[in-house]
Symmetry: C2
Subunit: 340 residues, 2 copies
């Protein structure tokens, strides 16, 4: 029997469709994760001149900028969605609102190795790019016109990655993305009526129920949310209440460890998954201090991961309605029981 | 230079990304639109016993139910996302909200012909399935537990259609889809401050500006919206204010004509497009009369069409942010200037 489930943060309903159900084991796919060649890859070591000059890097003491021997490099996106070189100004006509594409778009190259995906990297390597993501976010937020810095990863061609070399992206925008705003509003409403953080409550419920947990460690928990939109949708949250991804409270050892474990369990469960994930954290509070009086208590940063396993699109875009053929309890159990 | 644009109804921002721009002419793809074989197709004439018994049909005077010689057939989906045979009841645990998958899921088979897509059908044929969609919506709304009836079409495998035979789907749900609710809220807010329908205002602006118009006739207009999420995203609206798709005011001759023309222009512009469209109309008002006091004046039914031309997914799902590489002005001009 199908079930309708409601996301406790945003109020979004999903259909867990048992009539069209797919067992978690039936998604396994083998694909070549490396669809662009290392010889022509601008993110590979030795090809530093193929990218715009780096804006940040982790390098050894004797290593020069834009030259080999680095651990992580951050470069502006060669084809940026938004750009800092335009003036921040309105383009609004009488009726329609528009503004110049003021923003920033950066690429965080995780590793010099063309094929070394996060699930195969060491915890130390993952910690490095987490550090880079945190440092760049913090830096971009010093520009008070940036309301939001989106951190996301596209892995695989179908997930929208034009290059297969492991990388993350950051887009800084003068507006807060709609989905994040919905969470902010939902979390603040929940706080108003309960005086509690909805994410903290979800974590408590999930840890008590156990059925949707993928893995956990001292500081983080990974689970398939009750109202999962997609098969194997997985969220990672810090157990302790925290609103900023770059907060110094964030334990990067255990964060790196749970990222690695989650991605490893996912890839053992479904082969070479193409996926996207996004980091949802609080927006820039410099430009609007005191705007949300309770944001420090009601919001909670987290990662939402979406493997690309089913075909969806216009219907979901057009309605906000999701039909998920695999109950999160089954997906979580399958990942949890993978032998590591 | 990239541009950020805001949808006047929902407040959603999109990036019109000129740095990564794609000319409208560069999307042309040739694909076999018929990927399932007619011999095994449950929607083809003569195969009526391969579907659940029909719940509605347009047939000649001497034609028997579930037998050949029909124009349009409506059957329950064999693998329904939601089902009327379950009890309408809550499954909520203490914290998470859920309910049994009560609803309906029907398939409207547009034509007995396996390969006759809407752009190749006659206006008369299109009018028939419009009539069927209207009649079924009206019928489903007599069940007052159905808050919403979604009408949508998936065309092509990548658009989520498992069968290539031309068909629409209807899903009746006990909840109003999130995206529709956002429009209802946005339209009602707009009405509060202006005493006008936001859709009527958009139509006025678009017809005056001309730049984003694809085509129009006496009763309907098709245009690429100012804040288009996708290349060639096209909306079709009745020019006269109207909130229900099944309203008797809806002129099915001119609606059929503009559907045909829009799909024809789209397919001449980009080949054999895979696409989705959804009908957004008012929710069921029987169960909550007087709930929205101004809904009759502030909402406006319409069709939103999304050709599947670019890869998007987790990022868009995770953020509600869209990056569109082709300005709607270019897409509209390209379709408008197609020789018919």
């Amino acid at each position: 029997m199908a079930e309708l489930r409601k996301d406790p943060i945003t109020g979004r309903w999903v259909i867990i469709a048992t009539e069209r159900s797919k067992r978690p084991g039936s998604y396994h796919v083998e694909k070549d994760p490396s669809y662009t060649k290392a010889e022509k890859c601008p993110f590979c070591e030795g090809h530093e001149n193929m990218t715009p000059p780096e804006v940040y890097a982790m390098r050894g003491a004797y290593s020069k900028p834009n030259a080999p021997t680095w651990k992580v490099r951050v470069v502006p996106n060669k084809y940026p969605a938004l750009d800092m070189d335009v003036r921040f100004e309105s383009l609004s006509e009488d009726f329609f609102m528009a503004m110049k594409g003021y923003g920033a778009h950066e690429v965080v190259i995780e590793t010099p190795h063309h094929k070394k995906e996060a699930n195969e990297q060491s915890v130390e390597e993952i910690k490095n790019w987490i550090q880079a993501l945190q440092d760049r976010t913090k830096f971009l937020y010093t520009e008070k016109k940036f309301n939001y810095v989106l951190i996301f990863k596209n892995k695989g061609r179908a997930a929208g990655a034009s290059l297969s070399h492991p990388h993350h992206q950051l887009i800084a925008t003068p507006v807060t993305p709609k989905r994040v705003k919905e969470e902010l509003v939902g979390a603040s409403e929940y706080f108003k009526s309960t005086q509690r953080c909805v994410f903290c409550d979800i974590i408590k419920e999930e840890i008590a129920a156990k059925t949707r947990i993928v893995c956990e460690n001292d500081d983080f928990v990974a689970f398939c949310p009750h109202a999962s939109r997609f098969p194997f949708e997985t969220w990672i949250l810090p157990k302790e209440h925290c609103i900023d991804f770059y907060d110094e409270k964030v334990e990067s050892d255990t964060l790196a460890a749970i990222m690695k474990e989650t991605l490893k369990r996912l890839s053992k469960a479904i082969g070479e998954p193409e996926y996207n994930y996004v980091v949802h954290a609080a927006p820039n509070r410099i430009p609007r201090e005191g705007y949300w009086t309770t944001i420090d208590r009601d919001y909670h940063w987290h990662i939402e991961m979406f493997p690309r396993l089913i075909k969806t699109a216009g219907f979901e875009w057009g309605t906000g309605f999701y039909i998920n053929p695999t109950p999160p309890e089954q997906a979580a159990k399958f990942m949890r029981e993978i032998k590591m």
